[in-house]
Amino acid sequence: MAPERVTIKGTSKGVIVTIGAGNWQNTLRTLAQKLEQKSSFFKGGRVAVSVGDRLLNADEIAAMGELLTEHHMTLWAVRSNAEETRQAAISLGLEAEADTQKTSSRAHKSAMPNTPGGSNEVVTIRRTLRSGQTIETLGNVVIIGDVNPGAQIKAGGYVIIWGRLRGSVIAGAVAPENAFVCALELKPVQLIIGDAIARAPADDRRSKVIPEIAFVQDGQIVAEAWG
């Protein structure tokens, strides 16, 4: 497995720590190592942590805050795409906001054309998206798990689902040209790629299930066997 992705950047607004997907304990260890190497440089800084789609509870956020305190830095904000994580941050008296690194409707409107690296970013989710859960990113999305009815994905680029797609997907919001959506079982409630929109055929009763990939051809969404 790839090493846990942790980057530390100094900006005019303070230090921003960006944390990628992966095992949380390993991530904390990686963060500790990086702080060890760079703490003199960032000493005294206030830190916003950007955690993407990761779900964190209050204890986990507090532990991260303590780690930063040990290195003479102050955690003041958590940026997350998950409402649950933002609530946990607020309960600790921290600022919480949508993870503008990758997403948010604001970024969608104003910063879309020239977001640095925006559409190359891949958000990887290793769980089933259940009803009411939403993933939003300017980049691409990889889901290892199912996307249940009532769940929604909005992506700037492509969406790959290693599981069953039964929710709704908007792909190619930023880069429609090369956008596609594929799943081991492609049965979305609604599928939007760029400007094209499609619904799964209603007569899906127990026909054979094959992995499929959907993309836009002549302004229409077409699906064919994947792989």
């Binding site: 509870n57 649950e84 259940r130 009803s131 009411g132 199912d146 249940n148 009815p149 009532g150």
Partner: protein, 264 residues
């Protein structure tokens, strides 16, 4: 003694949370356990009605939380079986009268006295749901084989996972094997497929439930219906016993399907 807090929830209303709470509480008591059922649906209480204890209410959950009475005074003893108690909800207040911390503190007191504390959650995902969820050691999610109920159950499971309360265990209520066989109702596989959590029981649709609810006598006291057997089996499974699923249809293939679900 340190009892287990089991919260019964569903998201959608009208799928049988209260009936499940009443019957599982009674069934566990019949197994010789000391059980208290708590109605967390403040403002819309009806666990007391289903259990037939409405006329015995003096104090309620809000009275306990606000210190108007002692905990013991609000415990209504069910005289039909040894070891079964109820803490009713207040009818004149709303969900904000109780906080998640209050529920945790209350359940921690009750753990010392009882083997099982069964909390009947209100429908929805708001304050009342959060109150009911806070003290839970285990969560049972009740759903019926309808798309809307399954959708809401899925939402609830997502919220449970985010809160670190695990995915919960599933009770599939009001299954009609005849309709499933005709292809007019979601079958067990369809539901378990979407929700992907452990199935702890399947309760068939049964007129006996409606009759018993109206009489205020949990169906398991009547002892002569499939639904009653199904609830008893869930109680045994909660108690850690490995009970095979009921044969709801005298049809081997269906039975094998159930057995496979349980074993796998």
């Amino acid at each position: 003694m340190s009892g287990t807090v089991i919260t019964i929830t569903s998201g959608k209303g009208g799928v049988g949370k209260t009936t499940t709470t009443a019957n599982l509480s009674a069934a566990l008591a019949l197994e010789g356990k000391k059980v208290v059922a708590i109605d967390a649906d403040i403002g819309l209480r009806n666990l007391d009605v289903v259990m037939g204890l409405e006329n015995r209410i003096v104090y309620d959950l809000v009275d306990v939380v606000e210190g108007t009475c002692r905990l013991k005074q609000a415990l209504i003893r069910d005289k039909r079986v040894e070891g079964l108690y109820l803490i009713p909800a207040a009818q004149t207040r709303d969900k904000t009268a109780v906080s998640p911390e209050d529920m945790i503190a209350l359940c921690n007191d009750l753990r010392r006295e009882f083997d099982f504390i069964i909390v009947d959650s209100p429908a929805g995902i708001e304050q009342g749901f959060k109150n009911a969820m806070a003290p839970a050691d285990r969560v049972l999610i009740v759903t019926t084989p309808e798309i809307s109920a399954v959708r809401d159950a899925d939402r609830i499971i997502g919220l449970l996972e985010a809160a670190g309360k695990g995915p919960g265990e599933l009770v599939l209520n009001r299954l009609r094997p005849d309709m499933v066989q005709r292809g007019d109702m979601l079958d067990i596989d369809d539901v378990v497929d979407v929700l992907a959590i452990k199935l702890i029981g399947v309760v068939p649709d049964d007129e006996a439930i409606i009759i018993s609810t109206n009489k205020g006598v949990p169906v398991i006291f009547e002892n002569n219906s499939l639904a009653s057997d199904a609830f008893k089996n869930i109680a045994l499974r909660l108690n850690g016993e490995n009970v095979p699923f009921l044969n709801l249809q005298p049809d081997t293939s269906f039975f094998q399907k159930l057995a496979r679900l349980w074993n796998g």
